[in-house]
């Protein structure tokens, strides 16, 4: 598993994603709070978070208090005006540094497309070897919208010069948590 994580991290960083790993959900939460603070997230320039096992329940109320500006009410307008979007991803791919999710719920796409920063949460044990392994769990035969995300939005359409952040997020922060037991998507 740790081998998968290292490969995942190397690949993801090679495409300009930022990867952080924490042992516990508490540590990850603390990181998230300090990150939102550093980015100056406030009621004026907020953050939106789509539903996921990690941030639901008791932690959600705690976060709401500690991070003013963090909203769990996802809408197109809220996502379009937020600086940070947070969502929990279902799987990671070690071979390419890719995050994969059942994105049939529109909220999950809104928070990961519209804000300039996307924070992606993932359980360490969810990193699999390759696309084939992930497609055994997230089956296009059953799910109507599957999203694969590999690094932030990019283009090289002008003079072949790589530029990060066109229509999607210009930063992708991946937070990998060891004790995050994700429920099967």
């Amino acid at each position: 598993m740790s081998h998968s994580f290292e490969s995942f991290k190397t690949r993801a960083e090679a495409v300009s994603a930022e990867v952080h790993r924490f042992g516990t959900q508490e540590e990850a939460t603390a990181f998230l709070l300090s990150f939102l603070q550093e980015e100056g997230v406030s009621p004026q320039e907020g953050a939106v978070c789509a539903a996921g096992t990690f941030l639901d329940g008791a932690r959600k109320d705690d976060l709401k208090v500690k991070a003013p500006g963090l909203s769990f009410e996802v809408s197109q307008a809220a996502s379009a005006s937020s600086k940070v979007g947070i969502s929990q991803l279902d799987w990671g791919i070690a071979a390419t540094g890719t995050l994969v999710q059942d994105a049939s719920a529109v909220d999950k796409r809104l928070v990961s497309t519209l804000p300039p920063i996307h924070v992606a949460l993932l359980g360490t044990d969810r990193i699999l070897a390759d696309m084939n392994s992930v497609l055994e769990h997230l089956r296009p035969q059953e799910l109507n919208y599957i999203s694969c995300i590999t690094g932030p939005s990019r283009t090289a359409d002008i003079e072949r010069v790589l530029t990060i952040g066109v229509h999607g997020p210009e930063r992708l922060i991946i937070v990998v948590v060891d004790d995050l037991q994700q429920v099967m998507a």
Binding site: T96, L114, L135, Y145, T150, R160, H167, G168
Partner: protein, 710 residues
């Protein structure tokens, strides 16, 4: 070729932005592609792609029905049509019904193919491309010059000018700022659009899934924000099963942009909720537009294995000089030539098919295993069948098909060329022939052809005989190459016989689509070369060797003439190129190179047919190094020299810069000699070096090795 077409080539060649950008890209591309494929077995991946796509194209109808059924069961509406007009009508009707005023699009070649934007504009509906390159092209009122990088021909200065003129004044040529500007200007369009249009890279029949690959994230927005999503999908995107997705996703980003995976891959298999919770309308248009005709064609069905990665553009020595616009409005490069002939019409490909130099560089790199040069040759053949050969060409072929006449004319030329001859070269030709000698000198026709001088060589009588197929260039311009070959084989105790009735191998006719002529050449040569009992038929011209080994058979097949097939196969088995034969003799201990020699530093140029059809890039290198030469490899040693038979006569403006590049890389090695195995390449490279007054010698391996055996 039309004057208009020639002019478009001329314009492209004189656009330094275009040639600079494409040249740099083509060099960087090979490196990043190779790196992206590290740890991946390309052959296995492409076998999987071919299996999936060939299976799909053999049963499009069945898969299209299955796709429709499965996607509709999941809430999509699927419209199937073979007519591009009906695609536009369907979308316009839908737009009208739903009161659509604003449309955003992510990149779709199928929509380019049917000129959808024009239809929207005519109907008074605002349409915006959102892929950055496509948006630039749309604002500049141009067409894409590359399938993956539509605006690769434009500089940041040009982009800034377009943005300033079309969107908002005062944009500076600073790439990050231009990108930010595009983000800011397009964002409200995404948010306000009533309809989103995408293409798809893959359509899976068993699940009704569309797979859409992007880097910018625009397809995610286009398929998420507007309440109506329309996907225009060519039926060649169909595959049977979900498991067919992965090999395509493995190859497409690696081959297209040297990425392991694009930033975003979306797999959409049915209706999803809109941002307000209402169910999104998902319309999928499966468009045929001659694709199923193609699937029925025994040769061209192969082209449906294309995954649109544009490798054949990126590695093409011609594309990197002229760019995409000379190819037409939609599909560009090698595969674009084929698609244009089918999706548009055959005669639209008349001019552009001539751009293919037949070097074969794209063949081993194509993820769909499409033999693009072979298919372009087939287009050429069909064009000739359809509209006939020009009178000038007919006259030439009448001569080539009459060996005695052809050879006597060459003998006459040996005399009449005198006013233009300087030593062994013709450095200038007058009038309309001047293009041929502007960038390189031509070899003078030898005073006595090989067929005469070879009879004067005293050879050992031996039971082991090989027949020598000289080819026109060695026979009439470079007889000394043939004499050296005889000398070397004699040292192995082999007697070389020269069948006098041998004639042109037919390659010039074949490569110009004149298969009837090539077929007659093949028959004449079969008769001449199979008359005596020999173990091998050896040639020192790779193009001729390929003719003997493969093309005679292929030509007969294309013509549907099977009576001489057995002989063609017999000759194919006997045909061998000089370097491979000699290497074998050395390995068997029948030829021995002089030992302890320290010879000059050389560099080696791989001739297209030797490297990519005969797979013999190593034997000549081994022999030259065993002989004592130090080998210093040049950059792009296996890139075409620009000769390519009559190509350099038809398109000297393209042949010249290709040669110029080759000469540059030869000089950079510091070698005093460049060695190669093809007399055509010698003609081109030696002529180029002579024109420059370079001290570097260009030689055939047979000449370099002539005196190196014990």
């Amino acid at each position: 070729m039309t004057t208009q077409f020639k002019d478009s080539i001329e314009t492209a060649l004189h656009n330094p932005n275009l040639t600079g950008a494409l040249g740099r890209f083509s060099e960087a591309y090979r490196v990043s592609r190779a790196k992206a494929y590290e740890g991946i077995d390309f052959e296995t991946v492409r076998d999987e792609i071919v299996a999936a796509k060939a299976d799909a194209s053999s049963r499009f109808e069945e898969l299209a029905q299955q796709f429709k059924q499965n996607a509709e069961a999941r809430g999509a509406k699927v419209f199937r049509t073979s007519d591009p007009e009906q695609v536009k009508q369907y979308i316009l009707d839908l737009a009208r019904e739903q009161g659509v005023q604003r449309v955003v699009k992510s990149k779709s070649m199928a929509s380019e193919e049917i000129h959808l934007n024009k239809a929207f504009e005519k109907a008074g509906i605002e349409v915006d491309e959102t892929d950055l390159g496509e948006w630039i092209i749309q604002l500049a009122h141009q067409t894409p010059s590359h399938m993956v990088m539509p605006a690769i021909h434009m500089t940041k200065e040009e982009v800034a000018t377009v943005f300033s003129q079309e969107v908002e004044e005062g944009q500076m040529p600073d790439i990050p700022k231009l990108v930010k500007f595009a983000r800011a200007k397009l964002r409200p369009k995404f948010l306000q659009a009533d309809m989103g249009i995408t293409g798809a890279n893959i359509a899976v029949a068993e699940s009704g899934t569309l797979v859409i690959v992007t880097n910018e994230g625009n397809a995610r927005l286009v398929s998420t924000l507007p309440k109506i999503h329309v996907a225009i999908v060519g039926i060649e995107k169909l595959v049977a099963q979900v498991k067919d997705i992965t090999p395509i996703l493995t190859a497409l980003p690696r081959s297209a942009t040297g990425q392991l995976l694009t930033s975003y891959v979306s797999m959409i298999s049915g209706q999803v909720p809109n941002t307000d919770g209402s169910p999104k309308q998902l319309h999928i248009i499966l468009m045929d537009n001659h694709r199923s005709d193609m699937a029925k064609d025994p040769m061209f069905k192969e082209a449906l294995q294309c995954i649109r990665c544009a490798t054949c553009l990126n590695v093409c020595p011609v594309f990197r000089l002229v760019g995409g616009h000379v190819f037409g409005k939609t599909y560009t490069g090698g595969i674009g030539t084929i698609l244009t002939a089918w999706f548009d019409e055959l005669k639209k490909a008349d001019d552009i098919q001539g751009l293919c130099i037949q070097c074969g560089t794209c063949v081993p790199m194509c993820p769909g295993k499409i033999d693009i040069p072979k298919l372009i040759l087939e287009l050429r053949r069909r064009l000739v069948v359809e509209k006939g050969q020009s009178i000038g060409m007919k006259a030439i072929y009448a001569v080539v098909n009459n060996r005695r006449l052809f050879h006597s004319m060459l003998r006459v030329a040996a005399v009449t060329q005198k006013p233009f001859k300087q030593g062994r070269f013709i450095r200038h030709l007058p009038l309309f022939l001047s293009d041929m000698t502007e960038f390189r000198s031509l070899p003078a026709v030898a005073p006595r052809p090989l067929r005469d001088t070879i009879k004067e060589i005293e050879q050992p009588k031996s039971p082991e005989k090989v027949a020598f197929y000289a080819g026109c260039l060695i026979d009439f311009c470079y007889p000394e190459m043939g004499e050296s070959l005889v000398k070397i084989l004699n040292k192995a105790g082999i007697e070389v016989i020269f069948p006098d009735e041998q004639t042109c191998c037919g390659a010039p006719a074949r490569y110009n689509g004149a298969y009837e002529v090539a077929g007659q050449n093949a028959r004449d040569n079969l008769k001449a070369l199979l008359a005596t009992d020999v173990k091998h038929v050896v040639s020192a011209c790779p193009t001729c060797t390929v003719a003997l080994k493969h093309d005679f058979i292929e030509t007969f097949k294309s013509l549907g003439e099977f009576d001489a097939m057995a002989q063609a196969e017999e000759l194919s088995a006997k045909a061998i190129d000089f370097a491979t034969l000699v290497k074998r003799l050395v390995d068997e201990g029948r030829l021995t190179l002089k030992e302890g020699e320290t010879l000059e530093k050389i560099t080696y140029h791989d001739s297209c047919h030797l490297k990519r059809t005969l797979n013999a890039s190593q034997p000549p290198r081994d022999l030259l190094q065993q002989a004592g030469h130090e080998l210093s490899e040049m950059y792009e040693c296996d890139t075409c020299c620009g000769m390519a038979g009559s190509y350099s006569l038809k398109l000297p403006e393209i042949s010249a810069p290709i040669l110029e590049r080759k000469l540059k890389f030869i000089k950079e090695t510091g070698a005093t000699k460049v060695v190669m195995d093809c007399p055509g390449c010698v003609m081109q490279i030696r002529g180029g070096l002579d024109k420059e007054g370079s001290p570097i010698h260009a030689e055939h391996t047979v000449e370099t090795l002539a005196n190196r055996f014990k």
